[in-house]
Amino acid sequence: MGKMIRVLVAKPGLDGHDRGAKVVANALKDAGMEVIYTGLHQTPELIAEAAVQEDVDVVGLSILSGAHMTLFPRIMELLKEKGGGDIMVFGGGIIPAEDVEELEKFGVARVFGPGTDTNDIVSFLKEKLHG
């Protein structure tokens, strides 16, 4: 057995639509990962702090509010500040294609849009983290 993959799944910001985040969290659990789910309405500070306390390998953010261009960079900046700069960040939600490109340039590992097969997320994470 390889090293256990630990994932933080969080919903930053104000929208209350957590179905997607829960579906992903459940799929990652079923794929043998330890998933820390933190719930709705999280500030970037709370998410980054939880990620380093939990020593996760990856943070998954679900954003449907339109504030992704602010929230992703802010959380990644805070992770770096707190000594978690090596933590991979991926995301999902309602995010326009041109923004996806921008975010991936900024260092977001991947953005998964609506309709994504959860198996794709699982294999993406396993490949990235176990090589």
């Binding site: 057995m1 090293k3 256990m4 630990r6 969290a25 459940n26 990652l28 659990k29 079923d30 794929a31 043998g32 990962m33 330890e34 998933v35 820390i36 789910y37 933190t38 719930g39 999280q42 500030t43 500070e45 709370l46 702090e49 939880a50 380093v52 306390q53 939990e54 020593d55 707190k82 000594g83 978690g84």
Partner: protein, 321 residues
């Protein structure tokens, strides 16, 4: 495995109060083995014997919500807190959904509190098998008190009692009647019983039934008398009384010498279980024993020898005295 220099760096950062380094050391404890042992050696001078409180009870009793309320009462007295929350690992996938932080959102912004979610990774008993080691990390990091929240338990997952100084059993009005309360197991390990969800119409009655069954137990003069406290974690009612009772129990433990005894018992059982682990690893990695087992299992399968005969043969190969 990390290089010695890299491990030293993590320990140095941990000593400097870095959260990420503390998180990393907790992972090293979870993964166990020689690396975890090396970390414990390094931090041993910083370990003072932190006060441990266990919180247990059935799933959905409100453990996490109540703990997050209670935490603020400790913070008001400027006590620094480590919180370990345990959820079950899936026996099928090995994965886990660790959801206790959802109820503890207000705690992450306080630098005096460190919350860590642990999956039980198949350990029975309601806690993680690295509980002692994780407590050591909190202890060495200068925390004053550690909360250990078990998985939602049934009647006989009682390991938390062996790993803590004070046990709080959290129940709800639906947990059962007076007969349930008289049963062995969970109802025998509590120093303090909490009837949570006190706004429920049956809460008062349920609390009185627990009280009545506790009164049936003999308590020697001067011993601690377990008590029942009505709380609502959600509405923050009765939590102040829970804190008072916890303070009283802590004082009782110190005054009676029980704290010292419990600390010794925890360390003694830790030596025992580490020894058993070590022996188990040695037995499994011994080529001579493996060969003997392979050769003799056929005899066991065909009832030519009993399982115990084989064990005697193995035992005689391990010369301890």
């Amino acid at each position: 495995m990390r290089s010695a220099a890299k491990l030293d760096k993590i320990v140095d950062d941990f000593r400097a109060g870095n959260t990420a380094a503390t998180g990393r050391l907790l992972s090293i404890m979870e993964n166990g083995g020689p690396e975890a042992e090396r970390v414990i050696e390094k931090i041993l001078p910083d370990i003072k014997g932190i006060y441990r409180i266990g919180f247990t009870g059935p799933p959905g009793a409100g453990k996490s919500t109540l703990i997050s309320r209670l935490a603020s009462y400790y913070r008001k007295q400027d006590e620094k807190l480590g919180i370990i929350v345990v959820d079950p690992s899936s026996p099928f996938s090995g994965g886990a959904l660790l959801g206790d932080r959802v109820r503890m959102q207000n705690l992450s912004s306080d630098p005096g509190i460190f919350v860590r979610s642990l999956a039980n990774r198949g350990t029975l008993g309601g806690i993680s098998n690295c509980t002692d080691e994780a407590v050591d990390i909190f202890d060495a990091s200068g925390k004053d008190v550690v909360f250990i929240e078990t998985v939602g338990v049934g009647q006989s997952e009682l390991a938390v009692a062996e790993k803590t100084h004070t046990v709080v059993v959290i129940l709800v009005p639906e947990s059962g009647d007076g007969i349930q309360a008289m049963k062995a197991g969970l109802m025998e390990i509590g120093d303090i019983f909490v009837m949570n969800k006190s706004d429920h119409q049956d809460a008062g009655m349920a609390a009185r039934e627990i009280e009545a069954s506790l009164k049936m137990k003999r308590v020697e003069e001067g011993d601690w008398e377990p008590r029942v406290i009505l709380t609502s974690g959600l509405k923050d009612e009765g939590v102040d009384r829970l804190k008072e009772s916890l303070d009283q129990h802590r004082k009782y433990l110190e005054d009676s010498g029980l704290m010292k005894r419990k600390r010794r018992e925890i360390l003694y059982s830790r030596v025992r279980s580490a020894l058993i682990d070590r022996l188990d690893r040695r037995i499994r990695s011994s080529r001579r024993i493996t060969e003997l087992v392979e050769a003799r299992m056929e005899d066991v399968y065909h009832s030519r020898i009993s399982p115990y005969t084989l064990v005697h043969e193995i035992d005689s190969m391990i010369k301890i005295e």
